[in-house]
């Protein structure tokens, strides 16, 4: 309850609301689609932040949870006639379950070995769906347009999905804040600083890391279902895009890993930058290279990202920026 009085939490929530309210106020479908991507990126980046920012584990294959959630959710909607909301929840829980099982195995690895293992997992799950007939194999799955009738037609369904991703973005911010300000979060940050020392101090590191991994997987699984429901089609190449995982790392580091506001600033900043790079005649063909170079600069010079830099340079903001 005391945590609710934190200005940092409210600033972060306000930032998400400020970004997300525009399409609802204007009833603009076009703005909704643009903002949807930002909201989705906030959820994915904030989720990754739990693992990367608080625990210090770099996951190059975090998109696997988004893709798997999308597959499970769409399968349940398409083949089992589940409603969207239950299917999305099931997508999230399945991703959480995968994270739990994987966490037990690969979170014993550290540093580069863990990062490499996460790439392998993404590729393994992509190969699995490519060969798993109930998920449509390489062809994937497509929703019949009739599905949207249950949600008041396609136009209404897309608004419902937007409200949902907006709410989940707010939830992701609250989750980040709660983790950061809990004993569990302190344990994760101790692991980030020195895993051996954390163990000595009484943190049961395998458990803490596994639960951090699970927490970071559930919301991406839910938004995976929402995205592919909106898209109407899923196939392995779209669901398990390694470059999307790398973009999330860039976003978290750009905004400030380990902070609550960081993923929000990173998502808004990166998406803005990306639009600029994509439409700039100079950069449009090398946009990922530029993003990579940016990541390098951040790692070298401002490892704490925009939030960390602002907090250090402008002490008055320390209480405001969570």
């Amino acid at each position: 309850m005391k945590q609710l009085k934190s200005i940092g939490l409210w600033v972060s929530l306000l930032a998400v609301v400020a970004l997300g309210i525009g399409p609802i106020a204007n009833r603009s479908a076009s703005l909704r689609e643009t903002t949807y991507i930002i909201m989705q990126v906030i959820v994915l980046a904030a989720s990754l932040n739990i693992l990367l920012g608080f625990t210090g584990y770099v996951s190059f294959g975090h998109i696997v949870f988004f893709g798997l959630g999308g597959y499970v959710g769409l399968y349940l909607i398409n083949a089992q006639n589940w409603p969207l909301w239950s299917a999305a929840l099931a997508g999230g829980l399945t991703s959480g379950l995968l994270a739990f099982l994987l966490g037990k195995a690969i979170l014993r690895l550290r540093g580069a070995y863990f990062a490499l293992a996460t790439i392998g997992i993404n590729e393994a799950v992509r190969a699995f769906t490519n060969n798993f007939d109930p998920f449509g194999g390489p062809i994937g799955m497509t929703l019949n347009f009739r599905v949207y009738n249950s949600y008041g037609g396609a136009a209404n369904a897309l608004w419902l999905v937007y409200y949902a991703v907006f709410a989940i973005a707010l939830l992701a911010v609250v989750l980040n804040f709660m983790v950061k300000n809990s004993k569990f979060g302190l344990g994760l940050m101790a692991i980030r600083e020195d895993e051996g020392a954390a163990e000595v101090m009484g943190v049961i590191t395998p458990n803490a890391k596994t639960w951090a991994f699970v927490l970071s997987a559930i919301l991406p699984g839910i938004v995976g279902t929402l995205f592919f429901f909106k898209n109407g089609h899923i196939e392995p190449g779209d669901a398990f895009r390694l470059d999307y995982s790398i973009e999330m790392l860039v976003i978290v580091m750009l905004g400030g890993q380990g902070s609550v506001l960081g993923p929000i600033l990173g998502a808004a900043g990166y998406e803005g930058l990306r639009n600029f790079l994509l439409t700039s005649p100079l950069f449009k063909n090398i946009q990922l290279s530029v993003a990579g170079a940016l990541l390098l600069v951040i790692v070298l010079f401002i490892p704490a990202g925009a939030v960390g830099w602002l907090r250090r340079r402008v002490p008055i903001l320390r209480k405001v920026l969570a």
Binding site: R32, T34, G137, I139, G232, L278, T279, Q287
Partner: protein
């Protein structure tokens, strides 16, 4: 040094956030006017305007992949569409039943070859840009994402470069396909084999495990089985495969009469080259996508005899006479006119992607003319009734609830690389028989 970097980076972040907050998400690309001369004969038919007719500009909305992996094919498709639009506008536009003369303008964005962007951009086209009609992006995956938006906003969308059957089995009523569906890509090759050598019964199918190629070979397998063929091998490979030795060893062990499958250009041409080097002894090889491309001839002798399906080739000569014989209405320019004006406009030979782009515009033009209005219901009804022959081929759509909008008129043509009298590799059309420019080279030497 560090301080200046910090300042630079923070300015970059703030600047990009300002762009995100203030500017539009993307910059619309105005379609440049081509310098194409209007064809001398058989321009897209356009009605003559009265002295002072009411005029209206119709916006055609679409995305093209100006960046990303689909850039080459998508750009050609865009060129074809652009040529159609310039020609019809130069010819005076289209006259509606109430005397209004409509001309066309394009509103387009870069979709980055990425499904994430497609729904965002098609929503913008449908709502902010008020596009009257939509054309699909290139590729089945992107078109499937765009179709949801087209149907949702009650906009007719002609798809081109989108062969996958499944998009038309989702209950859409306003999405119409210009391409022959993926399920028909290799079935004609089997008909060709059956006609050439009825004793050839053993088929090995090796295919890239991507969505499009898998759809094609699944349909091929069903068709081949129904025709009594023996599928001795049916195996997928990763689209990024560069070494096919193990797969070719399996094919060799199965001793097939014919090898079919493939995927896209890179893997398909590598597969053809390695098949040739291993000398597996198959009498007939038919692969997807790669053989119709001109660069395929760079394989030299490895290209000789390889058959590939194509949506259209410049040598295909559908004419008014062939329309009359088939009892169809002829519409639009001849293939020769299209080819020459395209070359003049873009300084490159048209491919089937270019022809598909042009055909999409032509289909829409004919439907608007037949409907005599821009009303979605009336134009959709005209599309449902359409049964025409163009330079691109026969156009007719399935109107059943299960497959609405699926292309059922257009057929693939099959090309084969052969040697001319000087020993140079040339692309010949070998199927269907009525459009063939040379008999099939069989068995492969």
């Amino acid at each position: 040094m560090k301080r200046s970097l910090f300042v630079l980076l923070s300015l970059l972040i703030l600047g990009s956030m300002a762009i995100a907050a203030c500017g539009p998400a993307t910059t619309p690309t105005a379609a440049p006017q081509t310098q194409a001369p209007a064809p001398a004969t058989q321009a897209p038919p356009a009605s003559t305007a009265p002295a002072q007719p009411a005029t209206k500009t119709v916006t055609i909305g679409f995305t093209s992949s100006q960046t990303g992996s689909l850039n080459v094919e998508s750009t050609r498709q865009y060129h074809g569409l652009q040529l159609w639009m310039d020609q019809v506008n130069k010819a005076g536009g289209v006259k509606l039943a109430d005397g209004t003369v409509v001309t066309f303008k394009a509103q387009t964005y870069d979709d980055e070859s990425n499904t994430d962007r497609v729904q965002q951009l098609y929503t913008k086209l449908a709502t902010e840009d008020n596009a009257d009609f939509l054309i699909s992006p290139y590729s089945s995956g992107l078109a499937a994402a765009a179709a949801v938006i087209a149907q949702q906003y009650n906009k007719i969308m002609i798809t081109t470069g989108a062969a996958d059957d499944s998009t038309y089995q989702k209950g859409y009523t306003l999405v119409y396909q210009a391409y022959t569906p993926a399920s028909h890509y290799l079935t004609g090759a089997l008909d060709l084999l059956a006609k050439t050598d009825p004793s050839a019964k053993k088929i090995a199918v090796a295919y890239s495990t991507d969505s499009f190629s898998t759809s094609v070979v699944n349909a091929l397998k069903t068709y081949a089985t129904s025709k009594g063929y023996n599928i001795v091998l049916f195996e997928g490979y990763d689209p990024a495969t560069t070494d096919f030795s193990a797969l070719i060893n399996k094919i060799q062990a199965a001793a097939p009469d014919a090898v079919m499958g493939g995927g896209h250009f890179q893997d398909g041409s590598t597969f053809a080259k390695q098949l040739f080097e291993k000398k597996i002894g198959a009498k007939f090889v038919a692969l997807l996508v790669a053989p119709p491309e001109d660069q395929f001839s760079q394989l030299g002798d490895a290209a000789l005899g390889v058959v590939g399906p194509s949506q259209w080739e410049p040598q295909v000569s559908f004419t008014q006479d062939s329309a009359q014989k088939a009892g169809l209405t002829w519409y639009g320019p001849t293939g020769a006119d299209f080819t020459s004006t395209y070359k003049a406009a873009f300084n490159e030979d048209p491919t089937y992607h270019s022809a598909g782009g042009y055909a999409a515009g032509l289909i829409l033009q004919k439907a608007i003319e037949d409907a005599g209005s821009l009303d979605t219901t009336a134009v959709a009804a005209a599309l449902d009734k359409m049964d025409i022959l163009t330079f691109y081929g026969h156009i007719k759509f399935d109107t059943s609830a299960a497959n609405h909008g699926l292309q059922i008129g257009h057929e693939m043509v099959y090309v084969q690389w052969q040697k001319d009298s000087s020993g140079n590799l040339v692309k010949q059309i070998v199927w269907p028989a009525e459009g063939a420019t040379a008999p099939l080279l069989y068995p492969i030497p």
